[in-house]
Symmetry: C2
Amino acid sequence: MATLIAPSNHSPQADAEALQKAFKGFGTDEKTVIVILGHRNVYQRQQIRKAYEEIFQEDLIKRLESELKGDFERAVYRWMLEPADRDAVLANVALKSGKNYHIIVEISSVLSPEELLAVRRAYLNRYKRSLEEDVASHTSGHLRQLLVGLVTSYRYTGNEINARLAQSEAEILHEAVKEKKGSQEEAVRILSTRSKTQLIATFNRYREIHATSITKKLLDEASDDFQKALYTAIRVINDHVKYYEKVVRDAVKRLGTDEDALTRVIVSRAEIDLKIISEAYYKRNSVLLEHAVAKETSGDYKHFLLTLLGKED
Amino acid sequence: MATLIAPSNHSPQADAEALQKAFKGFGTDEKTVIVILGHRNVYQRQQIRKAYEEIFQEDLIKRLESELKGDFERAVYRWMLEPADRDAVLANVALKSGKNYHIIVEISSVLSPEELLAVRRAYLNRYKRSLEEDVASHTSGHLRQLLVGLVTSYRYTGNEINARLAQSEAEILHEAVKEKKGSQEEAVRILSTRSKTQLIATFNRYREIHATSITKKLLDEASDDFQKALYTAIRVINDHVKYYEKVVRDAVKRLGTDEDALTRVIVSRAEIDLKIISEAYYKRNSVLLEHAVAKETSGDYKHFLLTLLGKED
């Protein structure tokens, strides 16, 4: 369930003109930008961008970048991109940072096979290199194998489960946790090729055998980047709502707030399942996500995030 | 350039009825099957299949399988499948054979990124498992890394070349030929992520540095399945016409003829570039490909292959 509140009818031309008026003169009328763009779905935003280009011969996204600033600008910029293009940008920024590989894992593990392909296409269009090419040249060893395996995956999406396989592969994953030689490559094969339904059956089997979840085990024992990426992949595949709840929780809890993470989750999920993530957050923390966000952010950025979270103006 | 001769207008209904008549009674009129299906392009064949299903409530492909036999049946069956579906079947048969990994390399290296995706989709639909899942569970070590890397590739198709990269990666490939520890993984990364244009520049650079082509070097030194697969991948990427010419040459030269290989090339390329492959064959062997095929095959199978090769009835 989405949190975004968008009208069923709007005029892209009227929106484009109202935005242009908000940009005019000294200073920008940020409130208008938020009221309009914070209440339009992905299709409507693309239409506004097109109308703006036609009327003013100018790219709306470029104009927004020059009019806005700071966390607010970054959030609006990401919001305006089509989802696949946004994920391509997020992946590229993460790769260039030389850490944040969890974002690569997150994108490649949460999306459907066709959505992931759309990100790979968007990445090619934008950067003239393939996503896996950049992933591979920034990483090495087992971490590289896992990340490349995940971004190139195209999983079966049916519901059949092979119980025998779940049993044997739960054991292989256990060996990978224990860093048994050779098991890492098998873990990569399993995580990057099996269907999500099959993998969840495997994780469940693991819990039955070892009386603890594989993620708990990895959390205790993860010693290198490969195991950390494995940990993230398993968590996202197992329950992406729970995973996102934790990302948001860590982001607001941190001294100074992790705006990048907060923006990423809210912008990426507002039209998909942010309501469910928000409910999970409340259940876990006994605090409304809106309140936590309002407490940790300020100004236009705060106003924009709360709008995407479904707060009525 | 294709060799297939197909009329611009045909009636799918009339074709379906003529085929049904050819099946009727004791024995099959194979000549009619060849005259019709051997002169229809991929779109027309799908239309005939649809018309046949509508008129006779029967799958034409299943009926053909029961009416025909031997190499002729296998060739017609493959011809009737849509190209992506045909490649999915070829890949599956190769995997089950436990050898023939060169067919996996061939399919994944000759197709465009979008064509390869179509094969992965067809594979999922047909086998309820992903192609890479089956590749990974049939292989291990560097061979697995290379094959999975190739089947999951989605390369950049632009023409930019990075000369510095071509230089450094030519050296890495040389180390992989020499089996230097750690270089195999780098070779996999290069072969499965770089654009074909970039790779060809790298192979050219290799020749300049080492005064011999990397394929010659590999042919002399290839010691295991990984290096053999590397050899095939490089040959297909470098010049797939030359590669196919060799496949056909080996197929007809062999004592007993390799019908599977001969059928695969003719059926797969008849609508694409079989004329160019055929010209390359003539140039290399001073024998017309039609004559070589006619000499090594017989009966309906021969008649069908020659029809696909563009021989007028």
